[in-house]
């Protein structure tokens, strides 16, 4: 039988050890890595590309759902948590199963069996679809997560100056740095707090706290001058939106 590669992600050593123990009965499953926080998990998953990930939800730095958001490769995920309330969300992101702590060996085997079946049938959900469903839209985003290789950046929305569309990506400008993220500008716009972030142009979302002044530079066209001197073009509808907010 083909061997399966797995990564265990949980911030508690004891919680990881029980999965390790249950896996002893399944020699075909090889543990490639164990991670104790979200950053490590993103790094290990992108570098090792495992078949199955056992994923805790509540962890330092990034929670389990945020980890998934940053992964672009196809993945079979089994959530492992003491919290029942994440179950619905877990299946929304196409988790194969949801183990509630504490769980029995039988229940664990069942979850693993499901994962294997899915892997054999090669039924993958495109990762882009997962990213779209991870974020619930009832509350505005507090931080934006960006991955560069296996490095993760957490950018609190308050530290964003502006966001620029670049083909399939958005460039998030913060503290003089630019972070690329694979996302559509309109999708990101819909997640941000509309009282703070305004789409001033087809290609720009502006954090209004950074705006110093507006200058008229051609008929029907204005320029936003930011506090750090950056100049951004403002479209007519963008100007209407800004006027409404200020």
């Amino acid at each position: 039988m083909k061997s399966l590669r797995t990564i265990i992600v949980d911030d508690e050593e004891l919680a990881r050890s029980i999965i390790r123990e249950y896996l002893e009965d399944h020699p075909e499953v090889v543990i490639e890595a164990e991670c104790s926080n979200g950053f490590e998990a993103v790094k290990a998953i992108t570098e090792l590309k495992p078949d199955i990930v056992f994923l805790d939800v509540q962890m330092p730095k990034l929670n389990g759902f945020e980890v998934l958001e940053l992964i672009e490769t196809d993945l079979t995920v089994i959530f492992v948590t003491a919290y029942e309330q994440y179950a619905v969300k877990a299946f929304e992101v196409h988790a194969i199963d949801y183990l509630l702590k504490p769980f029995s060996r039988e229940r664990f085997d069942e979850a693993l069996e499901r994962a294997k079946e899915k892997l054999e049938k090669d039924l993958f959900t495109p990762q882009q679809e997962i990213i779209q469903s991870v974020r619930t839209k009832d509350e505005p985003l507090e931080r934006v997560l960006v991955r560069d290789g296996s490095k993760v950046f957490v950018i609190p929305t308050g530290k964003i100056d502006y966001i620029e569309a670049q083909d399939d990506y958005v460039a998030i400008k913060s503290d003089g740095k630019s972070h690329l993220k694979k996302q559509r500008l309109a999708d990101l716009e819909s997640l941000l707090d509309p009282k703070r972030f305004v789409r001033i142009h087809r290609s720009y979302i502006l954090n209004v706290d950074r705006l110093a002044r507006l200058e008229l530079y051609a008929k029907d066209s204005r320029m936003a001058i930011l506090k750090d001197g950056t100049q951004l073009q403002v479209s007519r509808t963008g100007y209407e939106k800004l006027k409404e907010l200020l």
Binding site: E12, A15, N37, F39, P102
Partner: protein
């Protein structure tokens, strides 16, 4: 709302009383043979009934000048003025009625005979007005005391509800599930550790049930329970969770409401330590200054952590409980600086002696309930 008009049975009783007054007035007029019974009754009864309606309006004067909040002189002056107006109105109506009666029943010298009784009628009018005012004031006082009793009861129910809610929130089910998961993991690795963990868990649960049922407990007991909780969490978090305590000896006998620190300690673990890669130290300090017990809990936090409302809920519960128990004498304050989250709690410093001398005066019933029969 009018205290008489609002209730049908009060209206009936009121009208009945006035009907009797009417008949009595008729008797006063008829007995000296100045008036025939027909004359007396047809004059007195309708007029008193009309007057009963007018007098009801004195309620509005009573409401504007309640006995508790206005001086006696004020009440007398205002009510005298109101009485004069009421009687003038009544006399106006009465004279009209006399004319109507005289014409309708073809009576002789009726008007002049009524005129001789005018002082009597005015006197009776005054007395009846005064009576109505007295009744209104009586009802108002009665209802005010009933209302304040109800308000008192309501606030006691609120306080108890806050207390119950806080207690129910004490034992966090996720804490239990995670601890059980640790036990399940240890079962095959380290049976001695399983036993130690089970004992600690049992200890913690027993303490929280026993102490939670009491009105007040000693700070030492509260802190020992919190340490118990932290020791269990230490098995889960390993070296990530360190504990430091600095409790002045004198504070240990101070009384606190049971489980008041517990939600704060839980927050320190679940919203502090749990979000930090390498963990940190939770510090518990208690000191006694003057008449105030000061408890401080500190824990490191990740400044970039996602904010959720659950920690705020725990704090809110604690502060609601404090308000229910101490009114404005206790204070809860939080601050965050340089990656440290700090909760300060100031309580009136009471020992069991202060508490019993205070509570024995106010809640004797409670004390006697606990005595063996």
């Amino acid at each position: 709302m009018h205290p008489i008009l609002a209730y049908q049975e009060r209206i009936s009783v009121y009208l009945l009383c006035w009907l009797i007054f009417g008949v009595m007035l008729a008797a006063v007029l008829a007995l000296p043979h100045d008036f025939s019974w027909t004359e007396a009754l047809s004059l007195a009864v309708p007029l008193t009934l009309v007057y009963s309606g007018i007098c009801l309006s004195s309620w509005y004067v009573c409401r504007v000048y309640p006995l508790q909040k206005s001086s006696l002189a004020q009440v007398i002056v205002v009510q005298t003025m109101a009485a004069t107006l009421t009687i003038l109105l009544w006399i106006l109506i009465a004279s009209g009625w006399v004319v109507i009666l005289e014409r309708a029943l073809v009576l002789t010298t009726f008007r002049s005979r009524v005129l001789t009784k005018a002082p009597l009628l005015i006197g009776v009018g005054n007395i009846l007005y005064g009576l109505t005012v007295a009744v209104h004031y009586l009802i108002a006082t009665f209802e005010a005391s009933k209302e304040s009793e109800q308000r008192e009861l309501q606030s006691r129910i609120f306080a108890q509800e806050a207390e119950l809610k806080a207690l129910r929130a004490q034992i966090n089910p996720h804490f239990l599930f995670n601890s059980l998961n640790s036990i399940s993991a240890l079962a095959t690795q380290d049976p001695a550790a399983v036993r130690a963990m089970t004992l600690r868990l049992a200890d913690f649960l027993r303490k929280s049930l026993r102490l939670g049922a009491q009105e007040m407990i000693r700070l030492e007991e509260e802190i020992s329970m919190s340490l118990n909780f932290l020791e269990i969490e230490q098995i889960r978090y390993g070296s990530r969770l360190q504990i430091m305590q600095n409790v002045e000896e004198v504070c240990k006998d101070c009384l606190t409401p049971p489980l008041i620190l517990q939600p704060l300690i839980e927050n320190a673990v679940h919203h502090g330590i749990a979000h930090i890669l390498h963990g940190g130290t939770i510090t518990i300090e208690a000191s006694w200054r003057g008449s105030v017990l000061h408890v401080r809990i500190e824990n490191p936090v990740d400044p970039d952590r996602p904010h959720n409302r659950k920690g705020g809920l725990g704090l809110e519960n604690v502060s609601k409980r404090l308000r229910a128990i101490y009114k404005d004498d206790a204070q809860l304050q939080t601050e965050e600086s340089n990656g440290i989250f700090r909760v300060n709690l100031w309580l009136p410093a009471q020992t069991s002696r202060d508490f019993h001398s205070r509570s024995s005066a106010t809640t004797t019933v409670k004390v006697s309930e606990n005595l063996p029969a």
